[in-house]
């Protein structure tokens, strides 16, 4: 099977993630969209690593996983504190700041 297929799959996943961020209203779901984008990138990295025959891409995928975990910690902290204030995690309800 051609390695290009993996790249196509990763692009599709990345696009789904990006679309989720733009279309969904719940902050948790939006955040899951971002995570999907990061994991799609991991697939790209690992595929290119195989294509080029060096390990840089795989090492980078590990770093991305760690960063994604740190991002989850920060993101959930922020979303939960907003939820406890407003009893809602919808990104449409946060509209106090407007020009």
């Amino acid at each position: 099977m051609s390695l290009t297929n993996y790249l196509v799959l990763a692009s599709v996943l990345f696009t789904i993630g990006a679309t989720t961020v733009l279309l969904r209203r719940n902050a948790i779901i939006v955040f899951m969209g971002v995570e999907l984008m990061l994991n799609a990138t991991n697939l790209v990295l690992v595929t290119f690593s195989r294509m080029h025959g060096n390990l840089t891409g795989q090492v980078m995928a590990f770093f991305v996983m760690v960063v994604a975990a740190a991002e989850v910690v920060i993101g959930l902290a922020i979303i939960v504190s907003i939820f406890r204030t407003r009893r809602s995690a919808s990104v449409d309800d946060v509209n106090l700041l407007k020009s």
Binding site: V67, I74, A77, T85, L97
Partner: protein
């Protein structure tokens, strides 16, 4: 994989500024865990101040070596300490030091941060925490982590380091944005917007790095630059990767059309943090952008030039035009910072050696005025008379004639400030004049250097747009100055309930920034000489 591991040579001296800051941040986390609550604040403050002073000193000591050798490749190429990187590290550390003094200032009774960030706004728990005098001392290590990330960002020699540095500088800032003591709903909302949009942008950035890795087979910037010249037939990967990486950087500097977070976050964040991130994040992100554009992209600049020009022009115009109609001081400064990102971009896209030194000088001038300007905003407060506040402060406060509340950020509340508090208003006017680029201030020299670099780099139309836009921007800066000094209705404005609190540390910072703004404007030659000697990337 046969396995002899060759340990890389580590140039510790060249890493010293970064190691000091990040080491102190780790110590700060330990302090949170092991030092009794009463002592935490003084200990944290001491650790942070020592680390940042040490980082500035280390950067100054390294300067001689970098000037003679041109720079050092540290950690086998993961970090590169050359002239631009060192200047930006020094500038970030120095401005973070000034911001830290504003952050730590509680001579007016309380600092700008929520006593317990986890408490629900308006709850009994929060009120209890406020009365007990709890403080969120985690602010100090968070600021240090962000500063450390900002110091690695412009020195990153490969895309992996660049990505990790981007996250290390962003994640603490997301949290710090949500920690404001007053207007906590706005603060939390700003935090969430910043986080979601920031994570979205860094996902695009990361996808771009993955595509560039696929193109070149290496994440090292010098290898990618070499591959741009030699590899053919993979242009799609190269262009998509470069564009996505640039999108991530454009988001961080707040360039149009990736700027929509800037005004909301700058308004909602605690003002000392706003000053810190407006100055230091922008400087660090432009440092990284300079390296990407000057080291990696020269081979395809003809293809990217229209897009870069478009972003620069849009950023200047949109930032200025929207700033004209704002009524909140923090939002005005936010849109003005967007416009400044556009001015700096004209120097970046000029691709002229003069562009590097021009951008470095502009960033210094902008950073000093920004930290000072937001420091002034923390001092100008609303006040309420005692009878409005019965119950909130108990019987003890009922005797006091007035109580100081949060910051007075609406422009109309600043009317007549110049007559009642001439020093504060004078310093703020000086910063505004520097933003506007009036001669004898640092901003003028900065604008002059980037625009002349743009002309000599063949981007004369950008310089023309830049000059026109800065002429237009004078209008809204001067409007605030006129409001502060030349309002007829002084009594009415005094009754509007604005006062200036005396913050000792903040006062020092405002003074230092004002002196630097004038010095850089009147005697710019020593600093210009330094940035000219520094303006060479190695790879």
């Amino acid at each position: 994989m046969t396995g002899t591991f060759i340990a890389p040579h580590v140039a510790w001296a060249q890493l010293a500024p970064v190691v000091l800051v990040l080491g102190a941040a780790v110590i700060g986390v330990l302090v949170e865990a092991f030092v009794p609550a009463r002592l935490r604040r003084p200990v944290q403050l001491t650790v942070s101040l020592v680390a940042l002073v040490g980082a500035v000193t280390a950067a100054a000591l390294l300067w001689h070596g970098v000037r003679t050798t041109g720079g050092t490749v540290v950690l086998g190429g993961a970090m590169i300490l050359d002239g631009p990187a060192l200047v930006i590290q020094g500038a970030v550390a120095a401005l973070a030091l000034l911001s830290l003094l504003v952050i730590a200032d509680r001579s007016s009774g309380e600092d700008a941060f929520s006593p317990q960030a986890a408490g629900v706004p308006g709850s009994d728990y929060e009120e209890l925490a406020r009365r007990k005098g709890l403080v969120q001392t985690e602010v100090f290590p968070l600021v240090l982590f962000a500063t450390g990330g900002m110091m690695i960002f412009p020195a990153a020699g490969d895309l992996l380091t660049l990505f990790v540095a981007l996250e290390v500088l962003s994640l603490p800032l997301y949290l710090l944005t949500g920690l404001a003591r007053r207007r906590r709903l706005l603060s939390q909302e700003a935090s969430m917007k910043y986080f979601l949009l920031g994570a979205y942008a860094s996902a695009f950035f990361l996808f771009g790095t993955a595509l560039l890795y696929g193109f070149a087979g290496s994440v090292r910037l010098s290898d990618i630059a070499a591959a741009v010249r030699t590899v053919t037939g993979m242009d799609t990967l190269l262009f998509a990767g470069a564009a996505l990486v640039l999108v991530g950087l454009f988001f961080k500097v707040g360039a149009v059309p990736f700027h929509s977070w800037t005004p909301d976050v700058y308004q909602g964040a605690p003002t000392p943090i706003t000053g810190f991130m407006a100055a230091c994040t922008k400087i660090a992100a432009f440092g990284a952008m300079l390296r990407i554009v000057y080291v990696v992209l020269p081979g395809l600049i003809w293809d990217l030039r229209p897009a870069l020009w478009g972003v620069a022009i849009l950023t200047m115009v949109v930032g200025t035009v929207v700033a004209l109609v704002q009524t909140d001081v923090k939002r005005i400064l936010a849109y003005s910072s967007i416009a400044h990102a556009g001015f700096v971009l004209t120097g970046v896209v000029s691709l002229d050696p003069k562009g590097i030194s021009g951008v470095l000088f502009y960033l210094l001038a902008y950073g000093v005025a920004t930290v000072g300007g937001f420091a002034v905003v923390t001092l100008v407060r609303e006040k309420a008379t005692a009878q409005l506040l019965v119950g909130a402060g108990g019987p003890a406060a009922a005797g006091a004639s007035e109580t100081v509340l949060g910051e007075a950020t609406h422009v109309s509340q600043w009317a007549g400030l110049g007559r009642r508090h001439p020093w504060v208003a004078g310093a703020f006017s000086l910063f505004l004049l520097s933003f506007a680029g009036i001669p004898l201030t640092a901003g003028f020299i900065g604008k002059f250097t980037v625009f002349s670099a743009a002309v000599s780099g063949g981007a004369a139309p950008l310089a023309v747009v830049g000059v026109l836009v800065s002429a237009a921007s004078v209008f809204f800066y001067v409007r605030i100055i006129v409001l502060m000094y030349f309002t007829d209705d002084v009594e009415a404005s005094a009754a509007a309930g604005t006062t200036v609190v005396s913050g000792r540390l903040t006062g020092i910072v405002v003074g230092v920034c004002a002196v630097l703004t004038v010095l850089l404007g009147v005697f710019p030659s020593p600093v210009l000489e330094i940035v000219q000697q520094a303006a060479k990337f190695i790879s």
